[in-house]
């Protein structure tokens, strides 16, 4: 059995439809109309132990709802969920002992105390031994640089400082399952890459299972072998995004800068390759687009070197963003 099992999971909300304006507000007092919102619609997936699963989707797709069900905060309308053999929303206190949760947008620390006090409180709650705790602190200080922050009250931390402390706090007890909900939101490049390294290292050395939600697809590219894409409550992609990139995004572009003025018809004549698409960028530069499965880039470059007099050549790979955008637009895969 997989570590995380999700079967036919559905969550719908009843929200009340507000009428606008003064008159509407008055009517609302006496008669209310409700509508059902299907946040998560019959989804199925499982995560094996030691996997880092990317979980992506546009805003309001149902990502956070899924995470909140998996962490035991929300109760599903229908379906079955088990994490580590426990049903999160039924055995909440037992379940949360085994998980670590980072919500990049809200803190997990108690506001009114200093960071170190929050940490020692968590140490006692999760029953972490004092030596393990010291070791963890040392490790977190090396990777996340939290040493100087320990004696600052949580409410006075900046966003970046707070997220770093939050990550440390939620991993203090070495949980076997970790949920990261936009953990790198609003962080600078250096901190971001530190955190990525740390996540990767933790996964490799401890076999921690992780679910990562993010809008930053470079996080996914770097960390996840497998990703789920959810849209309007339904899973529209389950697999390796890198592979999807190879399969879906077949168009490549070569940008060629020349010493002489661009003459597209002339160049087309000279290269003599079918199915190329030429776009003029400016007087001395053009872009050649082609399908990588039909023509190899090497052949094209060879021809360019033989017949033209290029100043510079650049090959453009499609980004993961374009792939994901394509999947969103196709809606199913």
């Amino acid at each position: 059995m997989a570590l995380i099992e999700v079967q036919n999971l559905t969550k719908s909300y009843k929200t009340f439809k507000r009428k606008e304006g003064l008159k509407g507000a008055f009517i609302n007092l006496f008669r209310r109309e409700y509508e059902f919102v299907q946040a998560v619609d019959n989804i199925n997936f499982h995560v094996e132990q030691g996997e880092i699963l990317g979980y992506i989707g546009p805003n309001g797709a149902g990502k956070s709802t899924t995470i909140k069900i998996l962490t035991g905060i929300l109760t599903p309308t229908d379906g079955k969920v088990t994490v580590n053999g426990l049903v999160p929303y039924k055995q909440r206190q037992q379940h949360v002992k085994n998980i670590g949760v980072v919500f990049g947008q809200r803190t997990q620390l108690w506001w009114d105390i200093a960071v170190i006090e929050a940490f020692t409180l968590l140490r006692d709650i999760y029953e972490v031994s004092k030596t393990d705790f010291q070791e963890q602190l040392k490790k977190f200080d090396e990777v996340l640089g939290i040493g100087p922050l320990l004696h600052i009250p949580v409410r006075k931390l900046s966003l970046g400082q707070r997220v770093r402390c939050d990550i440390a706090a939620s991993l203090l007890h070495n949980p076997p399952v970790v949920f990261l909900d936009e953990p790198t939101i609003g962080l600078d490049v250096a901190v971001k890459s530190n955190i990525r390294e740390f996540i990767k290292e933790m996964n490799a050395s401890l076999g921690t299972t992780m679910i990562l939600t993010t809008h930053d697809l470079s996080d996914i590219e770097y960390l996840c072998q497998r990703s789920l894409i959810i849209d309007q409550g339904k899973i529209i992609f389950d697999g390796d995004l890198q592979k999807a990139k190879d399969e879906l995004a077949r168009e490549r572009k070569i940008q060629v800068d020349l010493y002489e003025r661009v003459d597209i018809d002339g160049i087309r004549e000279q290269l003599k390759i079918a199915k190329l698409e030429f776009t003029r960028r400016n007087d001395y530069s053009l872009t050649i687009s082609f399908d990588k499965d039909e023509i190899s880039a090497i052949d094209i470059i060879q021809k360019i070197l033989d017949h033209l007099h290029p100043r510079d050549i650049k090959i453009e790979e499609p980004t993961i963003e374009t792939v994901v955008k394509e999947i969103y637009q196709k809606k199913s895969f």
Binding site: S64, K68, L74, R92, V96, D112, I125
Partner: protein
């Protein structure tokens, strides 16, 4: 033995929440003195009122001026506790629901109910040690104060009274899960608690039909009964049965809170974020 040790460790963790609230309360100096003055003024006004009513050795339903001098002072201090519980439990829960702090607490392997209770207890300890002690010292030196007739039963009864109101305050706090804005419910309960628990006037002074209704409700167990024990108006047997009824109310309300919290969390709908 192992069970006891485990229980003790958990208990120690929850007392940390009390300590955090205690220290937090200590850090607002201006607020401390303002509230102190406000409550002291109310006690003084009440005192002069009773002094006028009970002049020349008059009594009402067995209360002399000397009794009332003590009654208004203890009631005044108890209002700190009521305030702390309303704010630290009901309003706190509502605030946590709206700020999302509730989610954070649900992600911790602790009981939310006990976490909320123990935080409030830390606040009460602060109220008693600092504000309460100050008010009573001033009162004892200035007007005079009769010590409790039997201190141990009084303190027990006071603790049970606090637990009863904690239970009620938790239930009131839970309403925010269902009606979003529970400010009205909160205001109404705090006001009625002050009236029905006997912190404004001794309950015997209410019309008799009201007194007999109040016998079936938990409110008088919050302050009026502890105060009766303080003043030595209950015999040994009556005291024992009063304490028993208190324990029954306190546990019933907290157990109700436990189950209602479970069902309320199940209904929780937090979208987005």
């Amino acid at each position: 033995m192992a069970h006891f040790r485990k229980f003790w460790i958990r208990f120690r963790i929850y007392t940390r929440f009390s300590k955090i609230r205690f220290i937090d309360r200590l850090s607002y100096r201006a607020h401390f003195f303002l509230v102190l003055t406000e409550y002291l003024l109310i006690i003084i006004v009440n005192y002069f009122l009773w002094k006028a009513i009970l002049a020349d050795g008059r009594t009402i339903r067995g209360y002399t001026l000397e009794d009332m001098v003590t009654y208004v002072a203890i009631a005044g201090v108890f209002r700190f506790i009521i305030n702390e519980l309303s704010g630290g439990i009901s309003r706190e829960m509502s605030g946590q629901y709206h700020s999302g702090e509730l989610i954070m607490n649900l992600l911790k392997p602790v009981s939310y109910q006990l976490y909320i209770y123990f935080r409030a207890f830390g606040g009460i300890l602060f109220q008693l040690l600092f504000r309460g002690a100050t008010v009573l010292t001033i009162w004892a030196l200035w007007v005079g104060l009769t010590p409790p007739d039997s201190p141990v039963p009084f303190i027990m009864s006071l603790i049970f009274g606090v637990l009863i109101y904690a239970g009620i305050a938790f239930l009131v706090g839970l309403t925010t899960f269902h009606i979003e804005n529970n400010a009205g419910v909160l205001f109404a309960t705090t006001a009625s608690i002050e009236l029905l628990s006997g912190t404004l006037i001794p309950l015997v002074m209410f019309p008799s039909w009201m007194v007999s209704i109040l016998d079936y409700l938990p409110f008088k167990m919050i302050f009026y009964i502890p105060m009766q024990i303080y003043l030595g108006r209950l015999g040994v047997e009556e005291t024992v049965s009063a304490l028993t009824v208190q324990v029954i109310w306190a546990s019933t309300l907290s157990i109700a809170g436990f189950f209602l919290f479970k069902t309320s969390v199940r209904k929780l709908t937090i979208q987005g974020g």
